[in-house]
Symmetry: C2
Subunit: 355 residues, 2 copies
Amino acid sequence: MATPAEGSLRRFSLAVDAMGGDSAPEVVLDGLDLAAERHPQAQFLLVGDEARLTPLLARRPRAAKACAIRHAPDVISGDMKPTLALRQGRNSSMRIAIDAVAHGEAAGVVSAGNTGALMALAKIVVKTMPEIGRPALAAIAPSARGDVVMLDLGANVQCDARNLVEFAVMGDAFARAVLGLPAPSIGLLNVGSEELKGDDRVRQAADVLRDSHSGINFHGFVEGHDIAAGTVDVVVTDGFTGNVALKTGEGALKLMRDLLRQVFTSSVPARMGYLLARPALERLREWMDPRRYNGAILLGLNGVVVKSHGGTDALGFAHAVDVAMDMVTHGFTQNIRESLSRLATHAPTLAASQD
Amino acid sequence: MATPAEGSLRRFSLAVDAMGGDSAPEVVLDGLDLAAERHPQAQFLLVGDEARLTPLLARRPRAAKACAIRHAPDVISGDMKPTLALRQGRNSSMRIAIDAVAHGEAAGVVSAGNTGALMALAKIVVKTMPEIGRPALAAIAPSARGDVVMLDLGANVQCDARNLVEFAVMGDAFARAVLGLPAPSIGLLNVGSEELKGDDRVRQAADVLRDSHSGINFHGFVEGHDIAAGTVDVVVTDGFTGNVALKTGEGALKLMRDLLRQVFTSSVPARMGYLLARPALERLREWMDPRRYNGAILLGLNGVVVKSHGGTDALGFAHAVDVAMDMVTHGFTQNIRESLSRLATHAPTLAASQD
């Protein structure tokens, strides 16, 4: 097995950190086995402990056909500080996978390992696109009208108008690549939908996005309840608000699930009621299955970087790989470049206001 | 009937805008009829169209005993701009009710009318407490572990550390008065629970609140999912994030309710299942009944100001009156004064950092 054809550039669709996550490497390999079936053209660079990976891969023929192993002696633990991961993680599976993107061997990287370390290493090693001020963290969430992209989810606790405009451009490119929408509608999160609401930041960003030359299908301001309602395809906000909003929504849904479980176990008739309604309730459960929404995506780097949830299973990991593959195959990075150069022509004032 | 004993100061517990809300004045009077039963000592100054109110009140004996009517010829409509309400609303029921608080005739005001107008009029007429930099909007929400107070919900889109500390003090006093908690736990909303997370604002505010002299039972940072989990009794944040978080949580719960309705009408067995589980589902519905959580409270003024939802029914309006009565009878304003003077002694640096 070893590491065939390592020297050739962009040989791999994705580099995969085989050792990151609660049940690595088994769950990672099972996930790749599923992903390899969905993406028959994909080639994965599997980075991790070669002695452990070789026999595991041999038992998964589909994954084995799509993967080449690259040995990494170390693993970045889940609780390692990003600064320590930077200094001491040079031989870790996560770092070597990220290096492969920086060296142009792979178009992107997927890891279920330490989030903070992945974000820090990716930013420093893969680097931010020269056209982008700050990268943003995005995710996909369920809504009443289909999937919704949200960003930023915490990469930047403070943002100016320029950052918000760039997030809109990146969210647009992401929704086109991953949700397959030709002209996704973009909403800017605010405390009201009227043009005069909010602070200078959001009003200034809205002015730029409203310009018909922006190439953005800008819906205008949206409010918190519009996220679950699916009013727009992409919800743009700063990292502080986005992080709080995503976790608040998840918390509310979890509370509802817990309460429903109590309801359906509270009496014998309620249990029978559950059994009768079960097929329909199962569809609801599938619809909001967190595995379908697994994957936080760091947008704005010179390569695709996807973080899988550390506790997910093979299906969840395969979904994270799906997102990364969609970005790689649908020219996500090129789309951003084109949109930004169009904006730079039509909104030069905003570029001047950057910090 | 008319307006007995109008001259005497603080004769009324609350002034009530009889004409505000979708189904005013009937719903307001029905709500006061319920509230009068719950608060037998309460005296309400009922402000509105005397010719309409007199016969309606005569048919509600409990409300009639607790209410004195003050005539107001005008009504501020639901879509009137706050600036216009200020200039042209001098003879409106809302304004005359607010005036009664400013003149010391009533300890607080409740209105189901135009939110923006109520906030603007109250701030200008009742005025901010001298000890407080900026008033904040608070509400009570359900959680897995009882009621949670959230503030600010949109009165201030930008806040500094001093504002956040004051919100914590006001939230503490509010939770003691309305939830009856002797030492409510206070959490500061952030993107992570570690001390180093977030921006300068939240870290600086946390440093002050962590001081044992603050008199605040400070839990530390909380995240979005902690709101529904009920990790703390009071969640403090800036008005932008708070507004988005509250509406995001409400949106997620509404989505879940809509989907459950679809589930239980999707097939004959599912309908039967609903019928069997109905008593338990009804308890869930009651638990999250928005009428129980009716009332947005503007904290930090020289009097109690409660906004009832415009579309609520008598029960919902009575709940808003409950909240205002609890604040009036449990010395909410005095509690704030004491906490702030304690803070001023122990955190003089923060007071110096104010804008």
